[in-house]
Structure formats: C-alpha cells, structure tokens
C-alpha cells in the first residue's frame, strides 16, 4: 500500500542561529526536499531612511553604522561619498588613503565572518568560526585604536575623518598585514580541499550567470557566478584607480565558488592595504567643512563595493541641513531575490548553507 504523503510547511526562523539575524524562511517540504520557499523579513526594520530625514547630514553617519553592522566602515564610506558628491566637498589625500586602508580591512573582517558562519552552517561547528574570529579580533583592535569603538565605528566624517590615526596604528597594521597571508594559507590548508566542504558546497545552490545579473546581485554573489564586475574597477571611487589588484571570480556559481571568491578577495585586500601604506602621505585628515552642511538643491548617487556588494546612497537635497530623501541601495536585499530558485529541489540542510553562502546582514536587508 502506498503511503499517503502531503506537503509540509516549516518556518525556519525568524530566531534561529542559521538565519544570521532575524530572517524567516517559510519552506514547503516534500519529505526533506524543499518544493517552495518564501523569504519573510522586516523583523529588524527601524526605518533608517525615514530617520535620516530628521537628522543633519553628519547626524546620519551613526545610522549608517547600523545598516550592515559587520561592515560599519564601508557604510560610513558610501554615505560620506554621497554627501561629498552632493555638496562638492574635497577630501585631503591622507584621508583618501586612510579610507581605502580602513575599507579594505573592513572587507577582510566581514569576509572572515561570512566564511566562518558559512562553515558553521556546513556543520563545522565553531572551529573555523573561532579561527576566523582570532584574526577579526586583530582588525577590530585596529579599528578600536582609531575610533574607540569595536563594532559601530562612526569614524568617517564628511570631508575626511574625526581625527588622525594614533601613532601605534601603522606599526600594528604592518604587523597584521605581514601575518595575515599566513593565516589565510592556514584556512586554505584546512578547508579549500576539505572533503566534507567539497561534498556539501560543490554544485549546491547554483546561481547562473544570467540570473545573477538579472536579479541585480552584486559582490561575491555576482562574482561567484563568473561575472567580472567590481565597482572598485569598473567605476573607481575614492582613489582605487591608483592600486593594483585582481578581481577573483568563480565559474559555477555554487556555494563553493562564493566561498572561494571571499577567501581570494581577502588576499587582494591585503595587496591594496600594502600599497596604500607605502604611499600614505602626511597632512590633514579633514578638509574645512562648515558645522552644518547645506548642499545645493539636487541629488546624488554614490556607490561603493562594500563587502557584500554594491552599497549605494541616493540623496536628495532641498538646501536644508537634513537630507530631503536618503535612499539606501542595500546589496543584501537584492542578493536574496533568487534565494527561492537557488533552494528549490535541495534538502533542508542544503538550504541552510545556500542561505549562508549569500552572506547577508539583516540590518541591511530591513534597514
């Protein structure tokens, strides 16, 4: 006698370790296989775009920290670039170099969490995660030196920085840059050819190239699918056109490729930091900026290659001291668009790592 079966709806999340925040997957299952999935979010919606309309241009910077809270420096950078574009504010050379150094350190820190959490999802319970946190700690220490904060840095300002870096920063950075390649080699020895990781991640959760472009994916998700598109190269902002670095890409667009792209990007970031350290000029870190900024009426869009992808701010000014409108183009949100297609036909345990391989932060998805 045939067994009578019926689809089963399972809510994964919102509060669950594998959802990297408060995200809910409403999965319809046939046995263990996912036959339908609907992402549900908004649990962390704080209305940052609305709040920004009530604050001065400088007062919005702490809000941007709380978007992708694992990459606050990058968020600061994207926002101040947009305001500088809107108001035509110059940035001193030294500040430009420091911005590049800090943004690339932030990329490494964010990718370390992405890779660590991804391996956690694969079932390597907290061992790789702790290795990654060991190095991230050093970056957080560096950020603490410059900003006094360990998570939400609020360090960049329109026209530069709050203050110059302390004397002990560069020696510590130099030590980190010399040590870090050895640590990445260590991860590769442990993980790159690891049989379990290959079995779990190779060929799983494929995002084809055409679909990746069509869903406006960006960052490692787009490049993992084999699209050579990095805003640092195709539309250089700040002073990225002065550095030599490569853009790692995947080919299959599976979870493993997204993981590999992140690991290789860390090496490229180190290359950029090394070059920027050598060229770092002395001088002021902030240009003369009025206390309250009144950008001329108009609009500006500035985007950067944040760790998770294209992070952009679309600002509208009505010549007052607060933005008339502040729209945030959040990479994590767009990268989730194809999640359903990537998961269909895979089992629950694969769905967890497919989701983990996209690397989202809910602060940015919900805003």
């Amino acid at each position: 006698m045939a067994l009578k079966t019926e689809p089963f709806v399972l809510n994964i999340g919102p509060v669950h370790p594998s959802t990297h925040g408060v995200f809910r997957m409403r999965a319809t299952l046939d046995g263990e296989v996912i036959i339908d999935m609907e992402p549900v979010f908004g649990y962390l919606h704080r209305g940052i775009e609305k709040l920004a309309e009530e604050r001065t241009y400088t007062g919005v910077i702490p809000l941007t920290d709380r978007l992708d809270y694992l990459a606050s420096m990058s968020n600061n950078l994207a926002y101040v670039l947009a305001v500088e574009k809107l108001a035509g504010i110059p940035v001193p050379e030294r500040a430009e170099y420091l911005r590049v150094i800090l943004a690339e350190l932030q990329r490494i820190a964010s990718h370390l969490i992405a890779v660590g959490a991804f391996l956690n999802d694969c079932g390597a319970f907290f061992t790789p995660f702790l290795y990654m946190f060991r190095e991230r700690e050093k970056i957080v220490d560096l950020f603490e030196m410059v900003s006094g904060q360990r998570l939400l840095y609020n360090y960049m300002r329109i026209g530069g920085f709050t203050q110059d870096i302390p004397d002990e920063f560069l020696p510590a950075l130099d030590k980190f840059v010399r040590q870090m390649p050895g640590f990445i080699d260590e991860y590769d020895r442990l993980l790159a050819e690891n049989e379990i990781l290959l079995a779990r991640a190779k060929g799983v959760g494929i995002l084809p190239k055409e679909l990746a472009i069509n869903i406006c994916a960006s960052g490692p998700v787009l490049r993992g699918s084999g699209v050579n598109w990095d805003i640092r190269k195709v539309d250089p902002y700040s002073i990225y056109d002065r550095f030599e670095f490569d853009i790692p890409t995947g080919s299959a667009g599976d979870c493993y490729d997204r993981y590999r792209v992140r690991v290789q990007e860390m090496r490229q970031s180190l290359r950029i930091i090394e070059q920027a350290m050598k060229q770092l000029p002395s001088g002021a870190v902030r240009s003369e900026v009025p206390h309250l900024i009144h950008p001329p009426t108009g609009e500006a869009y500035a985007h950067i290659e944040a760790p998770k992808g294209e992070l952009g701010f679309y600002l509208v000014s009505d010549n007052s001291i607060a933005p008339y409108r502040c729209h945030i183009r959040a990479p994590s949100l767009m990268n989730l668009t194809a999640l359903r297609e990537m998961m269909l036909g895979w089992k629950i345990q694969d769905a967890i790592i497919i989701f983990g391989s996209i690397d989202i932060t809910m602060g940015e998805v919900d805003r």
């Binding site: 919606h45 069509n214 869009y301 729209h327 183009r329």
Partner: protein, 146 residues
C-alpha cells in the same frame, strides 16, 4: 569609469520609438511618462547599443505634488549608466507599470516602495508589504506621514 549617459544622448532614439513618451531630458537624467515606463525600459534593455542589463536601484521620492520614481540602469558590456525618472501625480492611488519582468531585481525594491511609499506597481507578481506587517496603516516614507 562608468560613463553616465546624459538624457539628451538617449532621447532621440526614444522619440523615434515612442513619440511623446519623453517629457524632459536633461544633463543627468531622462523624465518619461509613467504609463510608458515599461516600454521605455524594455527598449533600453533590449537595444544592443544601450544594453542596460543591470538595474542599480529604484528609489521613490515624495515631493508632495507628485511622487518621483528614479531608476538607474547600467550596461555591463558598455560600462555606461542612465538615470530614468517618472512621476506619479495621483496621491490617492498612485500606480506605475512594474519592471519585474525585465529585471527580477526590481521585485523586492518595488515591494518596498509599495510598502513604504504606497505606490502600486501594475503587473508585479506578488505585490504585498515587505518590511511592515499586513494590515499596517499608512506608508511611512510619505512626507505627510508623521
């Protein structure tokens, strides 16, 4: 460097294809009628010399008299971009055609605009609130929402 195309560069081609659809073209953008946004976007995407295959973002702005929708497209092949705008004067039931069929990436963005700004997108396959809960009253990003 991504080349930002000016509205004037693109307007001649559009006028040929869709006479009367363009309201205004300026240095930085192109303003088209809201009812022709889908046709214009489809042309921008399929025309080989423009080839806008990537949608950077959709933003909605409330100017009290009208809502403005801002689309920025990029062509990965030619590495150029264009800002397209449209306006919606109806405050009670604002609606514009959806571009989800062209760029799937518009899906969540249009839902978010529907949720927070209250603009409907005709032809969107799953238009419902995305960050606020079903049954929430009002649209917080509107300027008259306090």
């Amino acid at each position: 460097m991504t080349l930002a195309l000016s509205g004037q560069e693109v307007v001649a081609k559009l006028e040929q294809q869709f006479p009367g659809s363009v309201i205004e073209s300026s240095e930085n953008n192109l303003l088209v009628k809201s009812e022709s946004i889908f046709d214009v976007a489809e042309y921008l995407k399929s025309s080989p010399e423009l080839d806008f295959d990537y949608l950077n973002y959709i933003a909605a702005v409330d100017y009290y008299d009208y809502f403005e929708l801002v689309y920025q497209f990029t062509s990965m092949k030619h590495n150029h971009s264009l800002v397209l705008k449209t306006r919606c004067y109806d405050r009670e039931n604002p609606a514009v055609p959806s571009v989800v069929r062209l760029w799937r990436g518009a899906d969540f963005q249009e839902r978010e605009i529907y949720d927070l700004m209250g603009i409907s997108f005709e032809g969107h396959p799953n238009l419902k609130r995305i960050v606020l809960w079903q049954g929430f009253e009002g649209h917080p990003l509107r300027k008259d929402y306090l």
